[in-house]
Amino acid sequence: MQNKLPLYIFLSLVLLLVLAAGALYMGVYEFEKHSFFAIFQAIFNNDSSIPDSDKYVLLELRLPRIVMSILVGSALAVSGTCLQGMFKNPLASPDLIGITSGAMLFAAVSIVLGSHFKPYIPEVFHFSMLSIAAFLGALLTMTIVYRISTSNGKTNVVVMLLSGVAITAISFATTGFLIYLSKEEQLRDLTFWNLGSLGGATWTKNAILAAIILIAFSFLITKGKALNAMMLGERDAQHLGVPVEKIKKKIVVLTALLVGTCVAFSGNIGFIGLIVPYILRLLFKSNYHIILPMSAIFGSILLLTADTISRTIVPPSEIPIGILTAFMGAPIFIAILIRNKKSM
């Protein structure tokens, strides 16, 4: 099965490309009879026969949004898969164990109270304060959850999920309090984070996301073997030459970075890190050597599809994407619970 991995990757990449091309055509705005090929060509040749609005919708709205859904989906799915490997449990996903809420909390604090902190923070960080806050929030909660729920390399699943519940509760309470304090403009921002949306996609954000994903994936994607070996127990993995502690630290920091950045740019899009590994496990068993790289692509496929549905199902408005992913994820959460009832 391991030898077929390149084939699986190729096929799912083709599927992703087809879906992305399809998503370009879908949307509320109708293009004036031009094919996209013609529009791209016109942009290339500085042809003025194409209306500016067509160009704008394609290049500044639809395309960046599609790219962002691909990037965010991939990042969330890979963080979910890595966390499941580290916690050795299919329920460990950034939202269920509270990492997303931790990032949300810090993001909310920086939105509402950011203007008070600004004088104390070096100027270079002002632009990216939200992302940094979300990253710190994610890192902090991940460390807390891991410390509370794991001793001697064994994770207590119930404690892990309950510490997620506790952190989510704190985060909700604080966000509620902040909403009470905030001005109208900040309020709109907060609602956006809470429900999740890819509507704010721009090329700058995509470039930052892509850079972070490139850094994180270059380390994480190749760790499938190590995560497999850790299923034996951490000592046995060490006898196979896996530097367990080092890998765990890197997973904690890099998934916090991924989740934090995703939350900063697209708000709370839940359950991607739960759904994607679950489906891949049904297809390929728990072989992380296969499901880790595959989750990078399937995460993109899932979020791209969900986002296309969310912006076309109730024209002319759109439903927040977090609602859609929750509708898909919650039944899977329940399915995993029923399946693992005995081993909890």
């Binding site: 391991q2 030898n3 991995l5 050795k88 190749t222 073997k225 497999n228 070996a229 299923m231 034996l232 127990g233 000592r235 046995d236 060490q238 006898h239 196979l240 030459g241 896996v242 530097p243 496990r281 068993k285 728990s286 072989n287 050597h289 081993s343």
Partner: protein
Amino acid sequence: MLEACKISYSHKKFSILENIDVSVNYGELLVIVGPNGAGKSTLLSMLANEMGQSEEPIYFKKKTFEEWDQKILPQHKAKFSQQNSNDIPLTVNDVVMMGRYPYFNSVPQQSDIDAVMKSMAETDVVAMKDRDYNTLSGGERQRVHLARVLAQLENDIAHKLVFMDEPLNNLDILHQHRILHTLKNFTELGNTAIVVLHDLNLAAQFADQVLLLKKGKIVSHDKPEKVFTKEIISKVYNFPCTICLNPVNQNPLIIFGT
């Protein structure tokens, strides 16, 4: 091969091992025996460098474990541990293939596939190679992990070292003897094995050296016929026994309760 001096270990002020000196030679099969709670598994863990850095360094082929290249070390030594994780949602073949992880980067080579097949044949698990690990019985799982450890040391390096903590648990008579014969063949090639066993008669039959532990101290460390005497064994195990010569292979034969 492996030299360790003054190994001590205590857990919450409760001393488990006290000042143990061990040295093992090339081609030696050392069996560690002793009553429950003697510190056998702890000693094996210490020797296998599982407890982190010990106060007194342990020398493996004249180098401490820290001095070894951590990528090369797994090709020289392997360990079979007692409590293996009970939930591994992979096929048997995938689990045995983990033993080859120190050898390939992303795709297993033909040599890795061959090594996996060879060691699966050795522990008699070829027939269940495509089954889910989680559906196996205790003894079958044990053999899968033994195959994994054997696959890890399947290479051309001379003088390898294997640690095994009660490898015969849950195994039937046939497989107990097959595993011990495999270990014996392994050491006859110049490699070394350090094994914790409970069955004294099997230890007497296969061991080159026996290390008898009680309450964290060495009672005796010598050839089987020197260690297995009526006085030592009945005192250490606190149970009467008779020792005679095995009429077939002339090894000591321990009969308890007489």
